[in-house]
């Protein structure tokens, strides 16, 4: 791998590129294509150089006609390996199996900040599409030069350039012996979606067979010669510090090495179970400090709020509240929840002299590389982080915890070490979706128009604070808090919390004015795309249908992370127990690239949201997580799944955005409204029914 390491050492020159990649034709995509054009136009000299952080991706076609796409994005189950291949295959007019995607490897792929925020499809996908089209254009130009004809009589098809007179030349014949490196042509003609043959289709997951035969190697499955298994000693609770540890008993176990570096203590053994046993034999003394519990967390968040950050402030909410008859004030509470990725954090680290290679499941391999650089004080070029397609993330795998641990142990042991977190560690020491307190106050006039909106979120985060409704007087603030539990991003970030509070408030305002919640929304909305999904949902659900006994209907809509979502829910409440009967959702995120995988994302997102809406919650006392197991932390299972109807709105005129987040935000408020509709009970905390679904 020395070869590839070199690639990014001091930036990329044309000569080095082909020295390393072999000959062929490549199109490089840079962060700033303008810059790229300038340097390329300066002539083909050795000093035409890309700094390594300017390259975003490249597509290379070798003399065998094999097309390789290099991107720092990673696959955590969103199936972007498939959708990105589709757009490249489409523009290059080749079949999918000639494309190899090299992803998330700090030595092979260009720098990438991370795979999160539903950004791959809106950013990387159109860029790769342009790069592939530019490559096609270049190949056509090469064929034109070869035949001494004009490009207008040539077409690309099935990996060939075809002349209108019938002759053809394959890409591999064209690229043989060539060393052409080009920037993206920003004005390249893209294939219009109505001509798409590969993109826009439900292409099955790439390498799908490897997953159903057990062949795919996740990080936790990897093994290298001489590899040992590592375990880390954990504190008994949040905020605890180590006083002393007696490791003598653990050390006496055959095959066990104990690594002690100040408060970092780990054991290494021949298999994970032996290492785990040794861990139990360590006798440690800890100093604990007072820590909050579930029952005090919400007052803690309010009392420890830092200076507010304004999201929106115009008109005068105070004035309107003073003048209005219908003012509604409510507080909503959001519990911490866990991501529970089915594959826990895992890493395998291997040192060769001063060079470190780490395989780990992370959404941000380049950030992990930086964390390792800091920890060990070695140059970045000595560190390679590889991300095998991973057992999901949902925003929960942004950090390099296991990577750092494995690398520390491997260094101490002088052998490769793999660290796989247990489910319990994952529950206790990964980070959570933040808890939050949300205060909302709003006024509505006689015509059913919202006239003032005041909204304060404590701790959840600023995402999703802005309201899509037209309100003339607004005051919206986020109040950050130093969270007592470790917290971080989650699908749609604070969108789940903020949209919950907002849509509940909207439903309650409608109820206050005795207006149907759909009519009420349409009155206060201008955004057509949002109205479209709302209307599509209402129609598919049959909003005005007669309600059976003990049933309730609920609705909510939102715009988040480039996606428009509306969700309608029917619940049945019998003997005080809530059962979700059906969910209908309409979703729109521009042009659809892979209908089946898009639908899968929307359904998965909705159902994951159902867990957080109904029953998921981290319970903790004095800084100790008290439900750190799957038996005690309920996630959605087969029988939690109601009838689901998804309406996908296709907008070929709008560039595609991601779908892994937006659909999660509206399920909770829709369920809450349906429960209210059935029982007249307003539930203002997430999860809504944690105690055996009892209202």
């Amino acid at each position: 791998m020395e070869k590839e390491h070199e690639l990014f050492e001091t930036g990329l020159t044309r000569r080095r590129f082909f020295h390393l990649m072999g000959s062929g034709v490549a199109v490089v995509l840079t962060a700033s294509d303008l810059f790229a054009l300038t340097i390329f136009n300066a002539g083909d000299k050795e000093n035409n150089i890309y700094a390594d952080d300017e390259i975003a991706a490249w597509i290379h076609i070798n003399p065998n006609g094999i097309i390789t796409v290099y991107t720092g994005k990673v696959e955590v189950g969103q199936n972007i390996r498939t959708s990105l291949s589709q757009v490249v295959a489409e523009e290059l007019r080749v079949s999918l199996n000639t494309i190899e995607m090299i992803m998330g490897d700090t030595s092979l792929t260009p720098y990438d900040r991370g795979t999160y925020g539903s950004l791959t499809t809106p950013n990387m996908s159109p860029q790769l599409r342009k790069a592939a089209a530019s490559l096609r254009e270049t190949l056509i130009e090469m064929a034109a030069a070869f035949w001494k004809t004009s490009t207008s009589s040539l077409k690309a098809r099935d990996g060939k350039v075809i002349h209108s007179n019938g002759k053809s030349i394959t890409y591999s014949e064209l690229t043989k012996g060539k060393k052409i490196l080009k920037p993206v042509n920003d004005k390249v003609t893209l294939t219009s979606p109505d001509q798409w043959k590969v993109a826009g289709q439900s292409i099955p997951k790439i390498n799908g067979r490897d997953f159903i035969t057990g062949k795919h190697m996740y990080t936790s499955d990897l093994k290298v010669p001489g590899m040992l298994y590592g375990k880390i000693m954990r504190a008994p609770s949040y905020g605890a510090t180590l006083i002393s540890a007696d490791t003598s008993k653990a050390k006496s176990i055959a095959g066990i090495t104990v690594v002690e570096e100040k408060d970092f203590i780990g054991v290494i053994g021949p298999d994970s179970q032996t290492a785990e046993t040794a861990l139990w034999e360590i006798n440690a003394q800890w100093k604990t400090t007072p820590q909050p519990s579930n029952n005090t967390i919400f007052s803690y968040l309010k009392e420890n709020a830092q200076a507010a950050r304004s999201e929106s402030n115009f008109g005068s909410v105070e004035k309107i509240f003073n003048e209005s008859k219908d003012v509604l004030t409510q507080t909503f509470f959001i519990d911490y929840i866990a991501h529970v990725p089915l594959e826990p954090r895992a890493a395998l680290a291997q040192w060769e002299g001063n060079n470190l290679t780490v395989w780990t499941g992370t959404q941000r391999p380049f950030a992990v590389q930086e964390q390792l650089e800091q920890l060990f004080g070695i140059p970045k070029n000595n560190i390679r982080v590889i991300m095998p397609d991973t057992g999901s993330g949902y925003g929960g795998k942004h950090t390099g915890d296991a990577a750092l641990e494995a690398a520390r142990l491997a260094k101490a042991a002088g052998k490769p070490v793999k660290v796989v977190w247990t489910r319990e560690e994952e529950f206790k020491w990964a980070y959570f979706r933040p808890a939050g307190v949300i205060e909302v106050k709003s006024a509505v006039n006689n015509e059913g128009i919202i006239t003032a909106w005041e909204f304060h979120n404590y701790n959840s985060g600023p995402a999703g604070l802005r309201i899509p409704y037209e309100v003339e007087n607004q005051k919206i603030e986020f109040h950050p808090v130093e969270s007592p539990l470790r917290q971080g991003s989650y699908r749609a970030l604070a969108g789940v919390a903020n949209v919950f509070a907002r849509e509940c408030q909207i439903n309650d305002l409608a109820n206050l004015r005795k207006i149907d919640p759909v009519t009420f929304r349409l009155k206060n909305l201008k955004d057509d795309r949002l109205k479209n999904v709302l209307e599509a949902t209402v129609q598919a659900f049959g909003w005005s249908k007669v309600k059976p006994k003990d049933r309730g209907y609920g609705i909510a809509c939102a715009y988040e992370k480039g996606g428009y979502i509306a969700t309608a829910v029917e619940v049945e409440v019998s003997a005080g127990e809530v059962k979700i009967v059906s969910i209908v959702a309409a979703f729109e995120c521009g042009k659809i690239i892979n209908p089946r995988h898009l639908k899968s994302q929307v359904v998965g997102c909705l159902l994951q949201g159902l867990g957080g809406a109904m029953f998921e919650a981290i319970e903790f006392k004095d800084g100790k997580i008290i439900n750190p197991s799957m038996a005690n932390y309920r996630v959605p299972r087969f029988k939690d799944v109601p009838a689901i109807d998804i309406v996908l709105l296709d907008r070929p005129d709008i560039a595609s955005t991601g779908a892994g987040e937006a659909p999660i935000v509206t399920i909770a408020p829709a369920i809450r409204q349906a429960i209210f509709d059935a029982t007249n009970k307003k539930l203002n905390q997430l999860p809504l029914v944690p105690n055996g679904l009892k209202v």
């Binding site: 057990g214 298999d271 949902y394 899968s600 994302q601 998965g604 159902l607 994951q608 799957m630």
Partner: protein, 149 residues
């Protein structure tokens, strides 16, 4: 210790209370069975013991010495996929697919026991398998398709 896995004989040195999952993954390099919870509640580690689905993460290897163990790696016969695998490949339900081995093994066990389960029977049988990506509706579709195969 002697183990029969996927029609092969293995002779290994492990203590009898090591879990079957650790034995398969770390000693036999059969990593298709996954660790999801270690407490027997997610189904990612499901294998068949004499045809019956078992949670290998809570099964001591000593208890299965003379039994026929089938893992996901053993379903394919002479390069031909098991009909359940074929159905899953066609329906393409997975996102991250970390749950895939457990889902396929549990479905195989279900269909061995009951060749034409109703939707309700499918849900009952699969209730103890978690797909955290929540691809459940497509998983049901894949199992229904398996019935037809």
């Amino acid at each position: 210790m002697q183990l029969h896995v996927n029609g092969k004989e293995y002779s290994i040195e492990v203590s009898g209370n090591t879990t079957l999952l650790t034995t398969l993954r770390e000693h036999l390099d059969l990593t298709g069975s996954k660790y999801g919870c270690g407490e027997g509640v997610c189904g990612a580690c499901t294998v068949l013991i004499n045809g019956v689905p078992v949670r290998s993460c809570i099964t001591p290897v000593g208890s299965v010495q003379n039994k026929e163990i089938t893992t996901i790696e053993g379903l394919e016969q002479n390069g031909k996929l098991h009909p359940v695998q074929e159905a899953f490949l066609e329906v393409d339900p997975f996102q991250c697919a970390y749950c895939a081995s457990g889902m396929v093994m549990s479905s195989v066990a279900l269909l061995n026991r009951n060749p034409s389960p109703s939707k309700q029977e499918i849900m009952d049988a699969m209730q103890s398998n978690i797909c955290r990506c929540c691809t459940y509706p497509d998983l049901v579709e894949a199992i229904v398709k398996s019935i037809k195969k």
